[in-house]
């Protein structure tokens, strides 16, 4: 009945939250008139209460980990400890200027340096830089490092990056941003990379390969050492997309598999929040071949003293990827989480993420859903396909996904990876209870029954959310991307 109108529509000329800006309005002094703005920008004119009420109400329209189960494959939507939030937001951390001298920043630097070390331990790589601001920027850093490596060796013919067809979209996009062309590798029937195709693709143009392991198909790439040897023999390097590290944390180390460079999504495996789309952090680690190329700044340690490593220390570095040192606040959250886990806790992450995924897979299979790689262990995630339901009932993966929202579950990742028809990629994470998983199975079963009885109910879902299914075609065609006073 009450709509949440746009904040702009709630304003009145001259209204504002008066305690929030200087009481007096200083004149603009010596600023030349032609440098000044002629008209004030169109911004909301609301009271403090209006703003607080509006954004509180808006927030309630979201699904979130703090309110719902998110079995969202590839995203590792696990509990974000509240302690990470409050400790990363201690005034001393919030007020620290990024250019504050190292002598005045020992507390912060210690956290950065220790997290770098912990990531080395858990991945088996030699060195880490925490500056990339998300997974994709970590990928960018890694592939740029591969490029810089070949260039440093005068090896300028290597123009191709190999990427499995199941890979996340950021992988091919990153390769192109780094000036490479992408060569896709097919997947075999078991969900592994097709080795024959790999052999054929490798050659003097091969700069490297980008892999996730477990892959986005939810299975562990068993012949990874063999692949590493082949790639290395061909003169290429191996990039590890760490988005799925949660599945093997402490159980198996990418460094041991033969990877030369790796990024970790701290906002997945290390439980920093997704924040409705970000920020994340894509910590990047390298083995001996590539460590000199890591992006700067990194935290270094001389005895008791922590300092920044910059251009001077790292002449080969691919350089800076952000004005300062990346998403410091995210790094602090990850650090707090890592310290609360310790070595034992890290191993358990993988164990229980895997337990939950395999349990959920078994239960769904027992209920008659089609598991895509039934002969494989699920890693921390697995795929079911609703091909049959789509064909027989006209109810596809998207319909089921939307109907799940009505049941109070966030939808699994749908239609990814692209090669599985009508698929749902399901990742429960280790922080959910068995009861929550059982509830999800019950919902899936109930929805299939609904689909049999009343397919339109499912096709028209959701029904219980603030809006029903949105017209995306219209959104893209009649672009309405901002409020204007006259509209």
């Amino acid at each position: 009945m009450r709509q949440d109108r746009l904040i702009f529509d709630q304003g009145r000329p001259g209204r504002r939250a008066q305690v929030q800006a200087p009481a007096a309005s200083p004149d603009t002094g010596d600023l030349p008139p032609e440098a000044l703005r002629r008209q004030p920008p169109c911004l909301p004119e609301v009271s403090e209460l209006q703003a607080v009420r509006h954004y509180t109400r808006l927030s309630q329209k979201n699904f979130s980990i703090d309110t719902q189960f998110y079995p969202l494959g590839s995203c590792t939507m696990k509990y974000n400890p509240r302690a990470s939030n409050s400790l990363a937001m201690l005034p001393g951390f919030l007020q620290r200027h990024p250019w504050a001298p190292a002598a005045q920043s020992q507390g912060f630097l210690a956290c950065v340096q220790e997290l770098q070390e912990m990531l080395c331990t858990v991945t088996g790589l030699a060195e880490f830089s925490l500056t990339p601001m998300a997974g994709a920027q970590g990928e960018f850093a890694g592939v740029a490092m591969i490029r810089a490596y070949h260039q440093a060796r005068g090896d300028s013919e290597r123009t191709e990056i190999l990427v499995p067809d199941a890979a996340h979209g950021t992988n091919p996009a990153t390769a192109v941003m780094c000036g490479f062309t992408v060569r896709e590798l097919p997947t075999d029937a078991d969900g592994d990379v097709d080795m024959q195709a790999l052999r054929e693709a490798l050659g003097p143009k091969t700069a490297g390969i980008m892999l996730t392991n477990p892959s986005t198909l939810g299975v562990f790439e068993r012949r990874i050492r063999e692949m590493a040897d082949l790639v290395h023999e061909a003169g290429g390097l191996l990039y590890y997309d760490g988005a799925n590290l949660n599945a093997i944390l402490g159980k198996s180390r990418p460094g041991d598999m033969g990877f030369d460079v790796i990024h970790i999504n701290l906002h997945k495996t290390f439980s920093t929040p997704h924040g409705g789309g970000g920020p994340g952090a894509g910590a990047i680690g390298a083995g001996e071949r590539l460590q000199g190329f890591l992006p700067i700044p990194m935290a270094g340690r001389d005895g008791d003293h922590y300092r920044w490593l910059t251009e001077t220390d790292r002449p080969q570095s691919i350089g800076r990827l952000s004005a300062f040192m990346g998403n410091a606040g995210v790094i602090l959250r990850a650090y707090v989480y890592a310290r609360m886990l310790g070595a034992e806790g890290m191993v358990r992450v993988a164990e229980f993420a895997t337990l939950n995924a395999n349990y959920l897979m078994s239960r769904l299979r027992a209920e008659g859903f089609q598991v895509w790689f039934p002969q494989r262990r699920a890693s921390h995630e697995f795929i079911i396909s609703l091909k049959r339901e789509s064909r027989d009932l006209g109810v596809g993966a998207m319909d089921v996904a939307k109907r799940l929202l009505d049941y109070g579950y966030h939808a699994p990742t749908a239609y990814f990876p692209l090669l599985v028809p009508e698929c749902l990629l399901i990742e429960p994470t280790e922080t959910e209870t068995r009861e929550e998983l059982d509830g999800f199975v019950d919902a899936m079963v109930a929805i299939r029954q609904e689909a049999r009885r009343d397919p339109e109910l499912v096709q028209g879902a959701p029904h219980r959310l603030p809006v029903r299914r949105l017209d995306e075609v219209r959104a893209a065609r009649e672009l309405d991307l901002r409020w204007t006073p006259d509209a």
Binding site: P22, K61, N62, G135, S252, P273
Partner: protein
């Protein structure tokens, strides 16, 4: 087992349901030689109380007195409501709003953000954020390359008065794609691009113009914009968004306005926090929207005709277009944008204008005070906003170190970018700086300069 809810019964029953004897069997596809050994050295697990004590200790160690450093990150008052709201679980722990119906809160907020940013920049379109101002400039350059189809040279002219780190980062972002960054020189005495001596412009994709520039100086943005446009180059304005509450926004530069506006959103409600997370904003003309990187939210209707919000134009993005996407960006800086949107709603145009004007006044007062000291003088003549370069008459770094030891962060040493400016320091005073902070700075600096003399 921190954060793991499984009881012994759960484990047993779940393993039975799967049909495996123990947890380890779940990993039997991992070849034995790839099974990790011990995770030493890894510090032992801490309870929340213990890590709390540790972090409090570390955060406390870093706390210092007033900060006169700017150079890309600015300390402003952030209303208490901003982060109390932004860290509500429903914003904080939500996923990217791909499931629109379950994300109307975040989506409507981003639509509001886009509207605010367009208002502030006087531009037609804004995306939902990029990582930060510096990397965002790199994305803006790549976008210009895609958008300016008449010029295929890959050459971009960058004013030397741009923040040097921004240039470095942009270089790292665009360098692998055959884009070359060239210099638009700066007149050393004035600290701005010399509009009287502009080079002949030819076959250049875009010109990058900062406002205010690295030294806090104001560029002749109208002249520069028209000059670039005349030669078929696009104009990328790199601006402090808070300053745009007071200064002419990119959309109003010159005859036709800049084509792209970008910069760092930090001054709009984001604490300094060691440099991040901040966010990069990016605005452009409507005609360029399909070349834009990053997410964009649009308003539409649902099956019943009720208004709602959704991500749109996703065909630009990596998850759809893969190797042909406008960028590889996926996760952006959503939560920071959430905070910043609330901040802008609370401050409004008048509030932001007052903050900007107050920063201007504070910096002028600071500079006036410091320039009373013997040997200290402004490096450039002419109007500045927000910060100004001073010449201390002696090497700046040791002076700054001594100030720091007295609990004062006195500014950004310019010598690290240009040895010719070794005596130079870039100072900044925002609205949080009081008269007594300024006095303390002047007195401390007077002492230190005297000692050194």
């Amino acid at each position: 087992m921190p954060f793991i809810p499984h009881t012994e019964d759960d484990i047993r029953e779940m393993l039975a349901a799967i049909g495996v004897p123990d947890l380890d069997t779940l990993f039997d596809e991992i070849p034995p030689e790839l099974r990790a050994g011990s995770l030493r050295p890894m510090p032992p697990a801490l309870q929340e109380m213990e890590i709390g004590r540790l972090m409090q200790d570390r955060a406390g160690r870093d706390q210092t007195g007033p900060c006169f450093i700017g150079a890309g990150a600015y300390q402003h008052h952030v209303p208490a409501a901003v982060w109390q709201l932004a860290t509500r679980g429903e914003f904080y722990s939500a996923y990217t709003p791909y499931q629109a119906e379950a994300s109307q809160g975040t989506l409507q907020l981003i639509y509001e953000y886009q509207s605010m940013m367009c208002g502030l920049m006087a531009m037609e379109v804004s995306n939902a954020s990029l990582y930060d101002g510096a990397s965002g400039l790199g994305e803006a350059m790549l976008m210009a390359i895609r958008a300016n189809q008449k010029v295929r040279s890959g050459r971009i002219l960058v004013a030397d008065s741009l923040h040097p780190v921004y240039r470095q980062v942009a270089q790292a972002v665009v360098g692998n794609q055959g884009v070359t960054l060239e210099s638009l020189p700066l007149e050393p005495a004035s600290g701005v691009v010399d509009v009287a001596a502009l080079p002949l412009l030819d076959d250049v994709v875009a010109v990058v113009i900062p406002q205010p520039n690295f030294f806090g100086r104001l560029e002749a943005v109208d002249r520069l914009t028209d000059w670039a446009h005349a030669a078929g180059a696009l104009v990328i304005g790199v601006v402090n968004p808070l300053a745009m509450a007071l200064l002419k926004p990119p959309g109003d530069w010159g005859e036709h306005g800049a084509d792209i506006a970008c910069g760092d959103g930090q001054p709009l409600g984001v604490p300094l926090s060691s440099g991040g997370p901040y966010y990069g904003f990016l605005c452009c003309r409507r005609s360029m929207v399909r070349r834009m990187p990053g997410r964009i939210v649009g308003r539409t209707v649902d099956l019943d005709g009720v208004e709602g919000y959704t991500l749109t134009l996703q065909a630009r993005e990596q998850h759809i277009r893969r190797s042909r996407a406008t960028s590889n960006i996926c996760t952006n800086q959503g939560l920071v944008v959430t905070a910043s949107t609330i901040h802008m709603a609370l401050l409004g145009a008048e509030g932001l204008r007052r903050v900007a004007a107050c920063c201007h006044e504070r910096t002028r007062t600071l500079v006036r005070n410091l320039c009373e000291l013997p040997g200290v003088r402004a490096l450039h003549q002419g109007a500045c906003f927000h910060e100004r370069a001073l010449d201390l008459g002696q090497p700046a770094e040791p002076v700054l170190e001594r100030l720091a030891r007295r609990g004062l962060l006195g500014g950004y040493p310019l010598g690290q970018h240009d040895p010719a400016l070794a005596n130079g320091v870039l100072v900044c005073a925002t609205e949080v700086i009081t008269d007594s902070d300024i006095r303390a700075y002047r007195d401390a600096l007077a002492d230190i300069l005297r000692e050194a003399a």
